[in-house]
């Protein structure tokens, strides 16, 4: 079974530029999550999708971050414009359903904003 795929693995941009990350969850998983992991901290949930609908985006900085999952499969997370404090690893995870215990994580995208 293929795992959660993410691209790119690394990205370096200057502040005020925009960037997009892509995630393809495990086939059949209805729930998709985006997490932000700042160095030295645990992952923090940014947004949760159930199929193509948003379940929770309460911690997403909506003035600069956006995410979509139009067809209920893969997802894109965008930052526009980026700030220095956005430097982090962005992790995508998926689970069978929104009450399922186990989440499967992708390898993450390491973003450096200079």
């Amino acid at each position: 079974e293929a795992g959660v795929a993410q691209s790119p693995r690394y990205k370096i941009i200057e502040k005020r530029q925009s960037v997009a990350f892509w995630c393809n969850p495990i086939s059949g998983h209805a729930t998709l999550y985006w997490y932000q992991q700042i160095l030295g901290q645990g992952p923090k949930l940014l947004i949760q999708f159930q199929n193509n609908g948003v379940v929770d985006d309460s911690q997403l900085p909506k003035d600069r971050f956006s995410a979509e999952r139009l067809k209920g499969v893969d997802s894109t997370l965008k930052i526009q414009p980026a700030k220095l404090e956005d430097s982090a690893v962005y992790l995508c995870a998926s689970s069978l359903g929104r009450i399922t215990y186990e989440q499967y994580f992708g390898p993450g995208t390491r973003l450096t904003v200079t």
């Binding site: 645990g42 992952p43 929770d56 009450i99 215990y101 994580f105």
Partner: protein, 114 residues
């Protein structure tokens, strides 16, 4: 949001030593999960504990859930270099739309040298 405190923050030991890491909170958990995150990868679920006083073993790893379900520990016997990584504890919390989000601690970064 329940605050999870993990200790120690960093641990560097030699191969063959034993170690214990801790996850504590002032709140009562219905369940708790432990994850291991290797460098450049996403977290991988090791175990879920749900019953106060529960002990689970996974090869050389022993997980214990406190009787009052406010704390948990992870003990590694005869550590090996392959155990190197970030150990995260996490609890599920209901979010705004009948789903659940994972709330992670900051993690214990373990380095095992040959």
């Amino acid at each position: 949001t329940q605050l999870l405190e993990q200790s120690p923050q960093f641990l560097s030991i030699q191969e063959g030593e034993n170690l214990t890491v801790y996850c504590n909170s002032s709140s009562v958990f219905s369940s708790l999960q432990w994850y291991r995150q290797e460098p450049g990868e996403g977290p991988v679920l090791l175990v879920t504990v749900v019953t106060g006083g529960e002990v689970k073993k996974l090869k050389r790893l022993t997980f214990q859930f406190g009787d009052a379900r406010k704390d948990s520990s992870l003990h590694i016997t005869a550590a090996q270099p392959g155990d190197t990584g970030l150990y995260l504890c996490a609890v599920r919390e209901p979010n705004s739309n009948s789903g659940y989000a994972l709330n992670f601690g900051k993690g214990t970064s373990l380095l095992v040298t040959p």
